[in-house]
Amino acid sequence: MDKRFSGLFNLTEEQAIAILDTPIAQLNEDDSRYVAAAHLVNFPTERSIQALMRAVQTTDRSLDNRIVRRKSIETLGRLQAKESLSAIRTCLQDEDCYTVENAVWAIGEIGTEDPEVLAEVAQLLDKPGQTYRVIIHTLTKLNYQPALDRIRRFTDNEDPPTASAAISAVCRLTGDMTQMQQVVEMLQHSNVLGRRLSIQDLIDARYYDAIPQISRCPVSLVFRLRGIRQLADAGVAAGKLTFESVRPYLEQVLRDRPEDLDLVHAYDRTPTLPFLIRELYETDFGRCYLATKTIIEHHAEAAPAALFATYKEEAYGDYGAHFHVVKLFGWLKHAPAYDLLVEALHHPQPQFQKSRAAAAIALGELGDSRAILDLKACLATKIWDLKYAALMALERLGDLSGVAIAADDEDWLIRAKASLYS
């Protein structure tokens, strides 16, 4: 899993276990059992697993304890602790739907072929108020064919992400992919979570045909890249895809021009620049891309000053707006932003990671050859999208000397890109 945040709370294993074991009434004001339960994911040891199981079996119904139980279940799932399966199974009948959701998810992570456990999970589809999407995912992941009819009932569910999961599940369990187009259509859902979640269903179904549409889906490029990358890994390994067949879409997403997206929002009149700048802070990236496109088309001259101002005031610390400001300086080919872009290229904080590849692309747009050394330095990182974007930018700057470094990369995708130049 992603280890970027593994050091977040700087607790030792002993400290985390001690906090988790402390009765709520005796807990120090500064200690959090929830944090301890989350943190133990970094320690795949017997004593951590035992401590987490004790937390699962502490059934005090207060909110503070309830959230600790849920997090402990999730952590046991991440640790794939088989010995915790029976403790987790007892949570399937819990009255708290999120505890049930986490238990079902954890069973999917741990894996089981026990027909009694699987039947119990499947029966949850008949119970009102559950997170059916997760239940469907787990049953499909564990290939539980007897659940097929129950899952089929959700294919026209009023909640689109639930319907999307069910359609995808039926296709996977039956091998008949004819209905997958309905899931593809959800890439244009008005709700951003609907769009993001349909990408997950397309990944799970290994529906390679959707790669072009995923590349045009108006969500953060993090979700699109994750989808295309996972499909490429699976498809190339299975001999269903080639690097060349994926490459145009992958590079389109890494380039991330707003005109390459099928936007779901529209303005009824051209907004002012200050309004558009505020839109760059939205959590729905579909709105941010519309703002970016409008800024380029209607405010190209006035935009750089406004971008510098918002960067200084707020965007330097907002990982969403930071990304869009970086992108815009590239599309506007604004040479005075060079230093800002180089700084973004080397940004050390994990939540700003997507700004780094964005800065590489933007530096390529600026066409300033001073960036070559900085871009080549990125080829030594472990971040695949940054390396790939750096190769694209270097290509744009006419420098192919990075190819030698990339040719031996540990990642097949980077090696494949490098091989295009050799």
Partner: protein, 164 residues
């Protein structure tokens, strides 16, 4: 947007009936609490930046490791991350106070968000800690009336519960 009123009407319409006495009682209850909710919404709107900042400052203070220079989550940027997301949740809580139901949080903040956090391995603990701080910090009558605070805290609990 789901609220007590729209839920009652939708249920009645689906069954082809008039709202029942208990339906009307729940609408009445929601209307009676609306003054308190709107007071909380107004106070929260006026202090959104401060409330969010206080919450993440508390989180940073509690986990002082996050302040260490050069750490992956050193001060300014980590604070900013929290600020962005805490503000987003506070805004949804404010919408819920106005609507008189949990619709905005359910539709924009929860449904699917748990899956996204899990799939990307993103830590929820900082948000839970920051929102818990906001809940414990609120004080009546200093910040708002007891009734308004109760409405506000109920929604903070709802957000903490559904995020964790």
């Amino acid at each position: 947007m789901k609220s007590v009123v729209t839920t009652v009407i939708a249920a009645a319409d689906a069954a082809g009936r008039f709202p029942s006495t208990s339906d009307l009682e729940s609408v009445q209850g929601s209307i009676q609490r609306s003054a308190a909710r709107l007071e909380a919404a107004e106070k929260l709107a006026a202090n959104l930046d401060n409330v969010a900042k206080e919450a993440y400052d508390a989180c940073i203070k509690k986990y002082s490791y996050l302040n260490n220079a050069g750490e992956a989550n050193s001060t300014d940027t980590y604070k900013a991350k929290c600020a962005r997301d805490i503000k987003h949740y506070m805004r949804l809580i404010q919408y819920c106070l106005v609507v008189g139901g949990t619709g905005p949080l359910d539709e924009w903040g929860i449904s699917g968000q748990r899956e996204v956090y899990r799939a990307l391995g993103l830590p929820t603990a900082p948000y839970v800690e920051a929102l818990s701080f906001a809940r414990n910090r609120g004080c009546a009558p200093r910040d708002m009336s007891p009734q308004a605070l109760s409405e506000y805290n109920t929604l903070l609990d709802y957000a903490i519960n559904s995020l964790s």
